[in-house]
Amino acid sequence: MKKLILGNAAVARGLYEAGCAIASSYPGTPSTEITEEAAKFSEIYCEWAPNEKVAMETAFGASLGGKRSFCGMKHVGLNVAADPLFTMGYTGVNAGMVIAVADDPGMHSSQNEQDSRHYARAAKLPMLEPSDSGEALEFTKLAYELSEEFDTPVLLKMCTRVAHSQSVAELSERREPEAKPYEKEPHKYVMAPANAIKRHPVVEERLRQLAEWAGTSGINRVEDGRDSSVGIITSSTCYQYVKEACGDRYPVLKLGMVWPLPEGLIKDFAARVERLVVVEEGDPFLEGCCRGLGLSLSGKDCFPLTGELSQNMVAEKLGLDVPKGRGLSEELPNRPPVMCAGCPHRGLFYTLKKLGCTVLGDIGCYTLGAMPPLGAMDMTLCMGASISGLHGFNKARGPEAGGKAVAVIGDSTFMHSGMTGLANVAYNQSDSTVIILDNSITGMTGHQQNPTTGLNLRGDPAGKIDLEALCRAMGIERVRVVDPYDLKACEETVKEELGVSEPSVIISRRPCALLKYVKHKPALKVDAGKCRGCRACMRIGCPAISIKDGKAHIDGTQCVGCGVCGQLCGFGAFKEG
């Protein structure tokens, strides 16, 4: 049966058809829907792990236990999971294991543009790279075959345009593989030096065999063209841009496996064409490998290292006609993402701005606190860096800084990698004030459960970690809870905790306003007779408030009646709807 299906859902379907039994992931755009969609199949046990390293090790354990397993993550998540990744090549697998990693060229929802293909080479693991949903499904199944045939975890590399595009895929039935027996094999699975030394040559030999397979399997294919003055080597979504721009004009070597590479196939292809062009997003990965084979070619001398490519860009660089569009001549206001109306983070960030705090931030919806008019963030680096960063900042700048600087981190990010930073604050004693923004969900990636919410991936009751008890158990004696809709309480609490010379945690607790169970109040109304147009209410950057004809105006389709704006009004102009 043919179906129009999202790339990530196609990977999930591939997991189902391949008989995957266990999936453990951490959400991250653009990878999240793989595991959410997989959870719709009762045959696959699916979970959100606290972070990507835990997810990968869980999937590894499941493979060792004899079941086909999976873990998925975004590109930066693979940095977190890099430790197990580099040694799993040495151990190999028992049942098949597939790791999906989704890059985000153009940084639609990411803090960097790193190219995950380097991990395949560095960790000496095979990497498949689909170019649409049909291939996403097929390559996922193929990855399990390869994993078991060559005794290795297999990387499946997605990118935003493949993960978040729907295209047509051919669905088939699930094939239930036989569970592999577990046998104790310490020489293979205990990677102490004496065993690991013997495994490294196995890894190198496996890569050689995989490269041979890559040359003959058909996953890397040559598509003929009418004009061999140019020949193009490409993969993933860039293949689609090339075909869109050139049709069947130029021959194309389409790579479905980007590591290890089919050297013979590449050399033969190069010999057939006058000018070789490598079209790839990100780093000159394929280009570097081709140059290593002694080939001369065009690549990043022609195409950018940053951002996404497109069909027009490919056409232009190859000297083909490019359609022209006409925009308006005037400059239009930008529309950056903003905190939603009623977002519980808003009150807390308003307080931090008012108090002039230095704010070491983290990864989540609350990163939007950096945007004007709140502008209450000084640093965002990676998951968990707020707390450890604050500790170092305070150690460097002394007690005076400790009285002004805070870390802000969400509940899910705290569980992911904030806890270890807090352990450092408690253990190595800095006067750090850590604010956990507990909105009872993983927000930015679209509402995933986490260890503090009491529900599992499928929404069923699960273990629930008590944040207050956890912080106390880690050695933080001052743990406070505050409602971020209450500006007065926020200000008093932050001032008090910044004033003490010991580590402290403030839990700013209120569920995300977009959660279905959160009941909204009616939209507020402005009493035009009382409003003086002073714009005090505009300082919180609420998308539901604007100034119309000199007076505050509330957009009734957005306002959820949180009442934070009313607390800023000195004239009582906001009234309940």
Binding site: P30, D132, K243, G325, S546
Partner: protein, 191 residues
């Protein structure tokens, strides 16, 4: 046939994902090869969002580039203007006349442009502007703007009404089916 290109643009949270899902389902049912490219993640938090719908005999790229769109379906006026350079010279804009101020306008750092419909027309676009929010509220919910827009858009396709109705049934949760059917009808009846 050449590949046809429809862009759906709007503000994160307005419901453009349902519109693109519905169009994809409809076009697939008409026997086309289809690709639909969505935006997830940060932009959904009130940012400018764009979805690409492409259909034809064989579709390669999941995205639409500048000068390629046959139609821009817009949930908000400023967003129609923002993406205008993606429209073909003879292309059409079907837009909701709703205005949603972006943060730079709210903070006073920028002005919301005036006379956008006229400006789009003088730039050569065929513009079909409609108060979809009013009609959505008439149907029963401000959230049904997407189905009002699709109702209006349905005029520009040579598909039987039953095909649209089937797509609505397939893509809308049962609980909201009646509301969305009403919204689609109100949008369709306007032309």
């Amino acid at each position: 046939m050449d590949t046809k290109n429809i862009m759906i643009v709007g503000v994160g949270g307005q419901g453009s994902l349902l519109a693109s899902k519905l169009l994809g389902h409809l076009l697939m049912g008409r026997g086309y090869d289809v690709k639909v490219s969505e935006v997830h993640g940060m932009s959904q938090r009130g940012g400018s969002v764009v979805t690409f719908v492409r259909y034809g005999e064989k579709v390669y790229s999941p995205v639409i580039d500048r000068g390629e769109a046959d139609a821009i379906v817009s949930f908000e006026l400023l967003e129609a203007a923002r993406w205008l350079s993606y429209l073909k010279p003879e292309g059409r804009v079907v837009t909701n006349t709703q205005r949603i101020d972006p943060m730079p306008v709210i903070t006073g750092a920028a002005e919301y442009p005036v006379g956008l419909v006229e400006k789009l027309e003088s730039a050569g676009a065929k513009v079909d502007a409609l108060d979809c929010l009013g009609l959505a509220e008439e149907a029963g919910s401000a959230k049904a703007v997407n189905l009002v827009l699709l109702g209006r858009l349905s005029h520009y396709f040579d598909f039987p009404i039953e095909a649209w109705q089937e797509a609505i049934e397939a893509c809308v949760p049962a609980k909201f089916l009646e509301l969305n059917r009403r919204a689609f009808e109100l949008g369709r009846r306007t032309a």
